[in-house]
Structures are given as C-alpha cells and as structure tokens.
Symmetry: C3
Subunit: 368 residues, 3 copies
C-alpha cells in the first residue's frame, strides 16, 4: 500500500440535523435470542418470575417454553435502534407508551423499525436538540409466527454535528401500532395449583394494595461488567465503552466517566421489584412513561421501590387483573456530615429511574 | 398516589427463630439449565473433563449429550435453597453427605426441596445460631425422566432477627433419600479407545496412588465477576452483591467487604483439580463432608491440591473404580517480613476450602 | 492420610526441549460450540455481520443457521492448542496462512491437531526459543458432516525448563491441508434484496477502494473481564489468569501484570472493523500473516483501522469478490508533555496488532 493512503473516517449514527420528520429507519442487524443471551440478561437482572426460569412452569401455563421477561425484550429491541437514533446522544430523556405483544422465546429473531415523530433544537444549548421517535419490534419476519413483540416511543437528546446546519424541526402523529399483550388462555382443566409453590405466595392480584409503597429489600452493585453487557446487546454508544474518549475530555461527559447504559438500571429495577410485585405476573401490559433521573456508574448499588397506584379488571379475563404501579430506582451517594430523612447519616438518596408500569397479575382464586 | 403511602418492607429469607424442626421448604423458582448457564459455569471453573466439553465424547460414552459437571449441578441446586435457608446467614459451615444421582443435561429443569433437621442457638453469640438442613434436587418433575440429581445436608450459621424470640431448638433424623450416581453401562463393543486422546493419559484409576498429594499447577484470580456469577445463579444473599450494605457497617461483615459466594471457590477447586484427578472420572459419587475455612475476596488467586486417600472397587463395574480423595483449596496472603515453609517469602498460605470427595474413575484397561 | 504424603507437581504444557520435529499433538478436550459460547464471543467482539446475529438472514443466504464468525472459530480452535503448544510461552510471535473451511454452527464440536514444524533456540536468550507449528481444526469428527473448519501455522516463543537440556532443532515442511472457504451457492431465485436493509449499505465489494485506509470509529475498553473470557475458552496459560504468580516476580512478565490473551484483541479488531469492511462478507478467506506488536492490559481501549490493499475476482463466483486488506489494531498510552502527529497531546499511539486479511465480500449488483 502506498505511504499516503486516502483516509476514511465514517460517521456512525445520526446527528440532530440528519433526522427527517416522518423518516423510517429499518434498523440493521436484527438479533436472534440465544440461550446465552437469555440467561445472561434474565439472571443478571435478578428476575424471579418462574416463567423466565423454569420451562416446566412456563409450559404448564400455556407458553411454548421459557419466556423472555419484558426487560430482556426491551433491551434487545431498544439496542437495535441505538446506532440510527442515539449513537450520538447525550442522554435518553423519556420512554413513552411502551407496550408488549407476542411472547418472545429462545430462537426468535427480533427486527426493529423506527419512525421519526419529532425534532427540536434546544433553546439554551444550540449544539443539542431533542429527537422523538416511535419504534416497533417484530419477531420472525416472514414466518408463520411473525408478530409484533413491542412498540414504544422515546425522546432522546442528540448532539448537532455542524452548529450551523439546518434542522428539520416539527412534530408528526405517531402511527397506530396494533400491539397488545398476548396471554395464554386460562384452562380450568390445568392443575395450576400444583405449581403454586414455585412462585411467591403473597404477590397475587388480591395481595397488591393500592396506596402501598413496597421498598424492595435487595440491592445490586454494578461493576465494570456493564461494558461487556452493553456490547453483548449491540449497543454501540461510545459513552458506555470507550474510556479513552472519556479520558481525553471528561468534562464533556455526564459524570466524567463511562456511564452505564440506561437499559441496565431499567431491567435491574424490574428485577429487584420482581419478588414483590412481578412473581405472579403473566406479563407487563404497558409502560406509560419512564425516565432516567440520574446516571449510574460502576460501583453504584441499585435499589428499587414500587408504589401500587391502582387495580382494575382485564376485560374477558377473570383469572387475572391489571395492577398499575410506579417503579422507582435509586442509589445512595456520599454526603459527608449531612443527615437526610430517608438515608443513613452521611449518605443521600438519589433517584435514578422511574417507570409507570401496568402488570397483568394472576389471581390467587384461579391459580393457587 | 397520596403523599403518605403505607410503606411495606418485606422480609426476605428466614431468621433463626423462623425455622421449625422437620419443616419442609419446597423452594421457589426452579431452574432450567440453558446452554448459557452451562457454558458460563462449566468453563469458568476450568473443568477439563471432556464429558462437559465435547458432545461427541459424551455421547460415545453413553450419555445423551454434554453432561453438567457436579460443580454446576451443585451450584444450581444449592442456590435454589439460599432464599429460604441462608439469605440471612453469616456463613455456611459444613456440607455433609452430598450425593449425585441422574445426569443433568442442557434443557433439564431442576427443582429443590429442603427439610429442617436441626436448629441451635449459639452459646457465645446469642444473635446467631446453627441451622442443619437436608436438601434434594430433582429434575423434570412430573415427566417420564423425573429423577433425583443430588441430595446433601448442610449446616449454616444464621442470624436471629429478634434477640428475644423463642427458637425451636432440637435435631431430627435425616430422611433416607435414594440417590446414587447413574453411570452409563460399559459396552465392550464401543470403540472407547478412539477417544482416549481427548482426556489426560495419566489420570486413570490405575494412575492415582493412595498416599500422594497432587499440587495442582494452575491458579485462577477471581475478580468482581463474582457478583455477576452469583446473580446468575439466583443466589440472593446480599453479602455477595450489595456493596452499599457493606459500606454502611463494614465491621459487621466477614472481611469488611463483599465476600465471594462459597459455591464459587467450591467449583473452582473442582475445576483446578480436574486435569490431575477428574479428567477420566465418569462422575462424582459422594462428598462426605466439606467446609470453607477462610473467605475469598475479589483479587484473590485460588489454588488447589488433592490428597489421594484410597481406592476401591465399585461392585458390578469392573471398568471403573472409586477413588477417595481430599480436595484442598488455598490462597496466599501478604505476610511482610515473614517466612513460611509452604509459601514464598513475605506470603502466607491460607486454606480456604476442603472437601472429602469420592470419584468414579475409568480404568485404562477398559478405556485406553 | 499419613503426615508425609508423596508430593506430586505435574508439569503442564511443554517446554522448548520437549518438542520433537514432526511430532503431532492430538489435543485434548475438544469443544462443542454452545449458544452460550456463541453469544459471549460473537457479541463481545462487537461483530455486526448479520450472519452471526440474525438466523433468518443467515438461512436466507443458504447457511443452516447462525454462523460462527471467523474470530470465534479461531478463538475456540486456537485455545485447544494452548496447553500442548504455548502454556509455557512468553509470547505468540506470528500467525501464518490461517485459512477457513466449512462453516461452524451452534452444536458443532471442534477438535484440533498440531504438527511441530520447527524448533530453534534463541541466540541471545538461551532460556527461550521459537516453536513453529501447524494446526488443523475439524468439526464433528466421525459424523457425516465432518469437515476441516480452519488451519493455520504459528510461531511462538517458548521457555526452556532446563537450560542444559538438548533441543531438537530444525525445520520440516508443512503438510498440505485442504481447507478453502465454503460459500453458500448463489441462487438468483432467492430474494436477497429483501434483506439488504439488515447490513450496511456502503460495504459491498463495489464500495471498498484499494488505496484507502478506514479508521474505524469505535473503541472498546477491556476490563478484568479478560480473565473470565480466557478461562471460558479453555486457555490455560497462567500469564492471563494467575495474579499471584505475577505478584511474586513482576519483572519476569511482559508489562509486570496479567497480559490479555492475544486472541482477545485479535477478535476485537475484527469486530471493530466489521461495520466498515465485514458487514457484507460471506466469510474470511485467508489471514496470510499476523502478529501482536504490543501487549494489551485491563483498562486499555482498543481501536482499529483497515487498509484496503487490493481487490480480485473469485473464480466461478461472479456474485462476490475478494478484498485484500491489512487490519491494524492500536491503543493510546500516556506520554505526558509529548506531542505526536497521530494522537491527542499527551498521548502516544501504540500499534498492538496487525493482520493481512482477505475477505469474500458480496457484490451490490447481486445482493442489494
């Protein structure tokens, strides 16, 4: 090769000025859920729902086998959108109307599309703006069991590359996407009760009382494992895995260090809450809205709490009910010499995540 | 939700005063062995026995496919018992009469039951006591191939929650549990010799001499990976994964830092010993007794040795024999200025684990 | 056991004086590729080629399912040779004529043989020498689909154990090994274009221009995860996983700390280059030569670049072409007060890896 090759540096991901209102991305890659991926993320998140751990239990409930928990579906599907939507993002601002559809099993292949619903330049920081998108994940495209498995909107804060570039500002309507939670039919002939010892006894629909806040008892310390986990998900955002980039200009980045991909605390909070509210869920119906309120770094310990907001019937399904909750994640940070009501002396509680979450929960009357 | 919700903090796990003599726990969850779990733990432990690595070799020996090594069966089954038995434990004191039964393959689902055999309050530390339990793991409950895969007793040091609570002290007899190692039949028509190059040449029954102590040559440094590994196993004990809890009161915890789950050094010692004693084993027959003698922390390097205690026939199986061994794990700790016979200058050898272990080992006369 | 057992310390691996010219090792173990192994290493390396991620895409191209990327085949096959060839190595010097054959799928079992082609004592360091070997990996030995999946030569710097021992110096000819890349037949009736959105649009044969150098935009920071990754591969070399050994005599080891197994930066560079040159490859044809030029340690961030050296027809296959490249890996090290042309101020670029690599790449004319 000659001494002076032509140098190419390809741009990865889109900057604010690259987005077009109404534009649709058919994301690259796609991802087949292997048993390796399934185990890594189901167990990492400390999920306790036996549907995701015990194939006998899952089949006895009418599923084909181990069921991907909603957090895993979200992680895999969401990550497919990162390169096109948020590789050049500063932060993910909000999740909106995230709904789940068909169950995802080991061996299913997920592919995702995203439509640009809105673009807006920041008033105060002209090198930034907000992109609003709607994404839909399908499994097994072209096969007999092709189905929508999840759809959601999100708003993300994206950098401009060229401060002078024109931006296609505006907002368009989201598409109507048919996506509602598939539930196995209730069959009174099945002996559900013989399996009842495998899930928690006190987390049926009847047990969850509106007006209570459950402080989930376990915590989980995150380590630099997050770099590996994020790579496994195909999340290519450099703020999660490129320490050199951070070292060059720490002040440019949130916290001045590698930030943990938001999907990690998202599913970890779901997992930490599982023994208290999710153990007898047949699925998650809807995440109405959610957001990260503080970043997470290696070394932080994640805790979670759930507020039970309300309960309601699910039409046509007397065996289950819908529980509306707010899932809250937090960590503690040092606050030498300070006293805070909800933290040990010398520490301060810091909210990191919140999610309005509706679950479909089995009734004891029908299952135990 | 109102500003003053009712706060719930659920208790997780049992404290000393919660255990009832003769009580039986049917543990929650259960766990299907995926290829993800299989690979993570088989390879992590540096197992070299081809039965767990090479499906062609395993099938040629009469197994259905890759065989879960005993350490993996133990890790999965044991972890199922943690929430009920040892989530509030200070330390695991002793393993007793651990026996293996049917082989465990990828796709098998394990479920575990535990009976409380004994409860005793500590004389010197009234906030602690000892719980003695017997656990049995079955695979594929309700299916044609349902079988016991392992049974064991253990003694564990558990905290009291309420120092004034009454404790149901006493001891009851263990159950008789039919659990003996399944071995594939020896078939002289099979060409075992064509596979002999795939395992070590000098670890047949004929090679292992009572009265020798084999210092296994490899060491393995543990990192903070242990937090992730422990979570993957569903082990919910907070002393392994909640750094914040430790930071609040380090003196309350062994070593003042996150302690590595005992199952990790257990299987790591099995793995480190494998090339020298386990490469030609068809299975582990019995762990008569075992205990952790010092804690393991991230950064420590684990070494192991095996003493060959004796050899004996296995009735009806002239192709194999039983080798009785003592497996010993150790690490080195800094000892500035000190000289110890069995350690480099400035270091001290610290025993961390011991296990009386009987293996069923192939005879060269029949296999090579 | 008596107080004075006979102590055995088995030698692991071979030292320089143990190698015999022309000797053939049939390596122990063998390894079945599970979904756990597949996911861990495919995703760790940030591979973006959908053949390794999306089973629908892979089958539509004529493969049986997800295809192991060449880096994974190399890691698994290479690691099988470590105990016999390089457990006592100081460094791996060179990869030569590495060719790939049949595709490797999940469930395939790889077994490897190695022939000793050359042995030479170092002139300047008599406790070291160079061993030259040729290794060949087969899948599913004895089954209908038995096939060679890879073959390669390498030169490795190995310690002598006994400085006075005689060494069997010399060089013999390599074997002719039939191993050429299997490609699925091109079938004009297939609707390849309907899948074209799943891979990068600008990495077809037509897009890759000789005389260009592509600086791949992403970096990946390695952590102590490398210890776990190396163990999962059965790589038993202690310089990757035994911190205690390093602590005893740091000056004896490259860099004075645990060195990352060379296979890790090898596949990581392949992965980092994938979105720019590998996304539309059907396979890697040949690695003519490759070498590690500096060690990698935990905390380093790996970057890569690819020089396009040339392009050529592949006889009989007008749908693809061969692209000859040079893959270059580098990291940055602190250089306080220094200015270097190709690095930010205060840093110096350090080449860590180079590989002459020929890929078989799809033509847009036939696939998109």
């Amino acid at each position: 090769m000659s001494n002076s090759p032509r140098i190419l540096r390809k741009k990865t991901g889109n900057f604010l000025e690259d987005f077009r209102l109404g534009q649709v991305f058919r994301h690259k890659g796609g991802k087949t859920v292997t048993e390796g991926l399934f185990t890594t993320f189901t167990e990492f998140a400390m999920t306790t729902n036996p549907l995701a751990k015990n194939a006998r239990y899952a089949r006895a409930h009418g599923f084909e086998g181990l069921v991907c928990p909603p957090g895993l579906v979200m992680l895999v599907a969401f990550s497919q959108t990162v390169e096109d939507v948020s590789e050049n993002a500063r932060a993910n601002l909000e999740y909106i109307d995230m709904r789940f559809g068909a169950p995802v099993y080991v061996g299913d292949t997920l592919e995702v599309e995203t439509k640009v619903l809105g673009v807006r330049v920041s008033g105060s920081r002209p090198n930034l703006g907000i992109v609003h998108v709607q994404s839909t994940a399908r499994k097994n495209v072209g096969a007999a069991d092709e189905a929508v498995v999840a759809t959601w909107q999100r708003k993300v804060q994206v950098y401009k590359q060229d401060p002078t570039a024109k931006v296609d500002e505006g907002e368009v309507e989201p598409d109507e996407v048919a996506c509602s939670l598939w539930l196995p039919p209730y069959d009174a002939a099945r002996d559900y009760r013989s399996l009842a010892h495998l899930s928690n006894r006190d987390t049926y629909y009847e047990d969850l009382e509106p007006g209570t806040r459950i402080e989930h008892s376990r915590g989980r310390t995150m380590t630099s494992e997050h770099i590996h986990l994020t790579a496994i998900l195909d999340n290519t955002s450099q703020v999660h895995c490129n320490q050199f980039m951070i070292d060059l200009d720490p002040k440019q980045y949130v916290g001045g260090e590698l930030i943990i991909f938001g999907g990690i605390p998202f599913v970890l909070c779901l997992g930490l809450s599982c023994p208290d509210v999710g153990d007898n869920a047949l699925g998650d119906l809807l995440y109405r809205t959610g957001r990260h309120t503080a970043p997470l770094f290696a070394g932080d310990t994640v805790f979670a709490a759930t507020e039970i907001l309300g309960k309601r019937e699910l039409p046509g399904r007397p065996d289950v009910g819908v529980v509306d909750t707010r899932l809250l994640g937090h960590k503690f940070v040092r606050a030498e010499g300070e006293k805070h009501e909800d933290a040990p002396e010398g520490w301060k509680k810091l909210a990191i995540f919140e999610l309005e979450r509706a679950l479909v929960v089995k009734r004891r009357s029908h299952y135990a």
